[in-house]
Symmetry: D2
Subunit: 301 residues, 4 copies
């Protein structure tokens, strides 16, 4: 299949490489061209713009950082929407806002273009290993094309519904749930530590019992050891997703006090100088610091 791929960050590059290795003809584009070189070496074509990547493709994937980048590559100058052939499919894997996905769905429908939202759970190593959990939503006819491709890229593809933005909402909900685990572990490790129980031992005990899901293990280890660098998923990206969750919930009329609590944690950390160099699990630093179990974030070295 002839595929365009726009956005070669650590996630996008790993996914695009898998598409190349699966034998597709892949035309890649990245704003910073150097990141396209490993793909070129593997057999991909390097396009000069999103439009060039899209113009002859059956399917175009995008995996970019935020709404602004998504709007730029989709509807900006030399963007995808203006170049796609009638009937061609755009699969957006980015974690963008519900509103942005709704807007694109409307515009694509009016333009006779196909659109599937397919955000993912998993870090770059999972992307490389085709172990992503993918949430997909879109019209049935579009999913019929998208799902077989997505199944080549992850360990499961969950169908959320016919409205593409629903997949984005589920992704935001998932990240909200991860942030809740981080906050929970922060408070748990603080109380354990002050009672003389090694937080790492606490995490071992609990993840050997009922709390055996991967996030408890991964974040529990980071939080118990207060190892928030280097970032696996950076704090500003986590803050962005928290913001998108709260905006979506507000539009739906849903109070989310736990998400609001996490929101304030992010703001506190940012005001203390914690940013892109830290993993978002540093949210747990607030609970640890408030309990006197850690220096405040900005005073750690």
């Amino acid at each position: 299949m002839k595929i365009g791929f726009v956005g070669l960050g650590s996630m996008g590059a790993a996914i695009a490489m898998n598409l190349v290795e699966s034998g597709h003809e892949v035309h890649v584009f990245n704003r910073t061209p150097a990141r396209a070189e490993p793909l070129r070496a593997a057999g991909a074509h390097v396009a000069a713009s999103p439009a060039h990547a899209a113009e002859s493709a059956d399917v175009v994937f995008t995996m970019v950082a935020d709404d602004a980048a998504h709007a730029a590559v989709t509807f900006g100058e030399a963007g995808i929407a203006g170049a796609l052939r009638p009937g061609a499919l755009h699969i957006s894997m980015s974690t963008i806002s519900v509103a942005a996905a709704q807007d694109q769905a409307t515009r694509y429908r009016e333009a006779g273009l196909a659109f599937v939202s397919a955000p993912v759970f998993g870090r770059p190593d999972a992307a490389a290993a085709r172990k992503l959990f993918i949430m997909a939503a879109g019209e049935d006819a579009h999913l019929t094309v998208a799902v077989p491709l997505l199944e080549q890229l992850g360990q499961s593809v969950g169908i959320v519904g016919t409205d593409p933005s629903q997949a984005n909402l589920v992704k935001l909900i998932g990240n909200f749930m991860l942030s809740a685990i981080i906050e929970t572990l922060g408070e748990a490790c603080a109380v354990a530590g002050k009672a003389g129980i090694d937080p790492m031992r606490l995490v071992e005990l609990l993840t050997s019992a009922n709390f055996n899901a991967p996030p408890y293990k991964i974040y529990g280890s980071l939080i118990a050891s207060q190892q928030f660098q280097p970032p696996g998923f950076s704090l500003p990206l986590g803050q962005k997703d928290n913001r998108l969750m709260l905006v979506a919930a507000e539009a739906l009329g849903v109070p989310m006090p736990l998400a609001s609590l996490v929101r304030d944690r992010f703001l506190t950390l940012r005001s203390q100088g914690i940013g892109a160099a830290h993993d978002w699990s540093a949210v747990a630093l607030c609970a640890l610091s408030d309990a006197g179990m850690s220096k405040p974030a900005h005073l750690r070295t």
Copy 2:
């Protein structure tokens, strides 16, 4: 081994039965005598008081509802502490307060009695199936006796430390973490539902991805379907453990804003008439009701 067992609620009865079936000589006591009859039929001896259950035992287990019941059977009239032989071991499996466990540890040490705290994670069906996760703490010499017995009763025994009350704290932390999952799922299902995503589908999607720990599955299903009756673990018991968690954290100087949020949920539900007839996962009703996704608790039928 000669074993006393005090407290034959749904958890205690299942555990005591397993001890009988493992071939121990078990002397049981329960405040309401009728609950001892199935044990008697299986070969247990029925004692007339905690003291009688304890007086010739090598090990006495207790599994009672709260601090008051624990104090009554341990230090009250015809209680265990006054009857135990020197060197005999008391294993407390109840979810009691950290302070109560600390007090008992001090008094037993002074009296030359052995004490291990061994609270459990798991519901009555898990107790019956010897699938409990058991957290144990106590002096090494006491654990040497306790652990082989406990291993007959659960799927794992985690050693927390040498201070018995630390096991109680870990148990409270575990229940706090479960309550955090319940609140998280309440907010998640509210936002999904108002976006037109069936909450049950949301739970399926997420528990098929990273959120694959049993609590997400069990509570996710209850919350998505708003089925909070009959109780597996009743709301007032959940509220009691939340209170014990906050008291322990306050004594340690640890703010736990997420536990405070859950505390207010319990108070709201109790003021709306929700109580022992409901499972503690009804905490999620608050988020659902605030979003207009459910009638408030007291107006449901």
Copy 3:
């Protein structure tokens, strides 16, 4: 002085009338023309557009509902900015966002136009009685013109600083502080009422002691009697200001957990069907309802 006045809601109409009565030549505009008739009867000129109201004025006032309305009358078609004479002054009394004020300050400076932000505290009756508390910010030369005029319209004019948007921030902070009083009174009346103390008696006792500021008296009486209709300041307007406060705080990197709590109260009420027909003091209904002291908002009649 020759004055333009745009926006004749209940606040704007009262202020404009005072300007007419003070002897100024006032050219008024309102989107719904009928609201201008009482002003015409009092001697004002009725303009056909914001531009017409502004074109020959020394000073133009605006008092409109939100950022969108402000942008429309200022920078929209036939807007003020395109019609103002060089050196003429625009005094914005609307509660708009900090960002909108910052944007206007930049654009007016570039265009050689004068801009003072002067939002007010007080309800329509206070506006009519020239009892408003006015917060003003702008360059000194602009304040020199604005302050004497503003002093004709309120009981005090506080100078915030030289950056117009700072007055908007102070206004948002003031409304945040009012919302905190409302939440406080809701919780206080709930606990008093359940202890058998008439909430109205509680309010009398406290406002006769240290809590003798007008907001405690006004909102205390409304909340104790659960009289939230008709609105003095409507719930959606209060929600809008809460949102603007949180957006401004987020931009500044300031967590405001109390404002976040109030935010969730607004969302809860909106999801229960409470809206423009209710006063924003209905925020207190959440605390009352959670305590079982009131029916939830949507079930009251």
Copy 4:
């Protein structure tokens, strides 16, 4: 009138002195005898125990630090309750728990003793100047005796009801409302300060407008200048009252999320080493510190 007075802390000493100066025969007792000397010099009799202060009195006042001290001087060895003449009146001005007042009311009624709760709002200087706001509750016959005396000690006496503990609840509610003002001002000063508005200027602007109650002025000035030493009302005492408020609210079934927020602030500060040397307005340090507007409490010098 023959009066006993137990508890000569800074509040009690000032009140007792006023009673002496009003011409009453006052028998004082304080655990630390040296504090009684200024009263002796002014004409008071110094008693050797609470019982001695009470035994021939028509009315006994108590003003002590907490429930434990209150129980000791009332029901302990050589306590008031065992010494009071039949029909004599005990006026408790201490901020004790609702439960303690309820317990005393029951025991005094059974013993044929009179009991009025009369906690106060005001600091030592207000006590000395007879400017206290006093909340009184008790049976009508007891209030008939108490109120004329209390009117000699403050600027107003508010009658709460016939159940003494209701006055204690109103006192706790009042302190809750003060703590809400402190938190509000902390968040307000943080956001103003980061926007370049001097927090002291913010406080001036707002207290010159609608927020003109004394607590806004007093605490606003302390918080804007971050002057939390020496204490007017010490942080641990504020924390104690917050705890009593939450306990009373929990017993009544009332969630108070704003009080819970303040509770966590106290815990954070205590874990950072802030204690009796600081005023309770230091609660605002949390908001200031989270915004990066102050060093965390324990790192200030």
